[in-house]
């Protein structure tokens, strides 16, 4: 049974390599994109942390900045 699934009448090498290539590509693209997002989030948190009180007030007046900060605190993805 397992041998049959692996060999697929002699086509196993082709089928499994096509599916593996697809899934590895998905994994790599997901990881690269996630790392880029994390890098930008860290940069944002660092820059926001180094602002003075007046600059923080100006930055916080933009809703999107608050959303980014909230995302940094709670994000898992």
């Amino acid at each position: 049974m397992i041998n049959e699934i692996v060999s697929m009448n002699g086509y196993g090498l082709y089928v499994w390599s096509a599916f593996s290539f697809t899934l590895i590509s998905f994994g790599s693209l997901f990881l690269i994109t996630k790392l880029q997002l994390l890098k930008e989030k860290r940069k944002f948190a660092y820059k926001f942390g180094s602002l003075n009180t007046e600059e923080v007030r100006v930055a916080e007046s933009q809703k999107i900045n608050k959303e980014i900060l909230a995302g940094i605190l709670s994000s898992k993805i």
């Binding site: 697929m8 082709y14 096509a18 599916f19 994109t33 997002l37 944002f44 999107i64 959303e67």
Partner: protein, 235 residues
């Protein structure tokens, strides 16, 4: 209507959506893989090698769909001078390019047992390779040109020019004698593929679409935060 697409308004949605899309993608992909690898029948001529279709065909469809969308958004961004459309196009490109590469590689793997060769300069394969070149040029233009206005302009021109290749890919099997068969899945007329194979194909297409949405959302959020980082520098 265009105001709906303003980053400040949609970031609240795009920043929360990825975790739900990822969850849905994992479920749909698991069902799709089970159907494609174990439950769907083998072909009477191609035997089990037909299973490669379940990754090859959706990848080709999605890479074509994404490039068409990029070209359309580039044109709209040209007409309405809307930078957000360029940002959306830029965020769509990486997943489109990866799907294009998957289609080419899995096509080569499928070609060996069915045609006896990894590669042929067939009209469909060559036009898909040209699409990969357009994707590469599009992505590179954002890296090479540092001035935003210039990058938007060059990338848009590449996308609009590349759109000429889309109908060529679609109709290449009708216009030229190629190794590829003509379309089995039709939207407007009867589909010639059996339901037992059409269902896993549809599930895998749904899974791949969800993956491209996931990557798009993550990339779009990255680009928006990048812009906001520049904004903090100016304070």
């Amino acid at each position: 209507m265009l105001k709906f697409f303003e980053p400040n308004k949609i970031f609240a949605i795009t920043s929360r959506a990825p975790k739900y899309v990822l969850f849905l993608f994992i479920i749909v992909l698991s069902i799709g893989l089970t159907e494609a690898l174990f439950l769907s029948p083998e072909d009477y001529k191609q035997s089990h090698s037909v299973r490669i279709m379940y990754v090859h065909v959706p990848s080709a469809w999605i890479s074509l769909g994404i490039f068409s969308l990029i070209a359309f958004l580039s044109l709209v961004s040209f007409i309405f001078k809307n930078k957000n459309f360029s940002l959306i196009s830029k965020s769509l490109a990486p997943s489109g390019f990866v799907f294009n590469i998957i289609a080419l590689v899995t096509g080569a793997i499928w070609g060996k047992p069915t045609w006896g060769t990894w590669w042929a300069w067939d009209a469909r394969i060559t036009s898909m390779l040209i699409l990969a070149l357009f994707y590469s040029m599009y992505l590179l233009s954002w890296k090479i040109f540092r001035k935003e206005e210039q990058a938007i302009k060059i990338a848009s021109i590449i996308a609009i020019l590349g759109a000429i290749n889309i109908p060529i890919i679609k109709f290449s099997v009708d216009w030229w004698s190629t190794l590829h068969q003509s379309s089995s899945v039709q939207i407007l007329s009867k589909t010639s593929i059996h339901t037992s194979m059409l269902i896993p194909l549809a599930i895998m297409t749904a899974a791949f679409t969800l993956f491209s949405i996931l990557i798009f959302l993550m990339k779009y959020n990255t680009e928006l935060i990048k812009i906001k980082n520049k904004g903090l520098d100016r304070l």
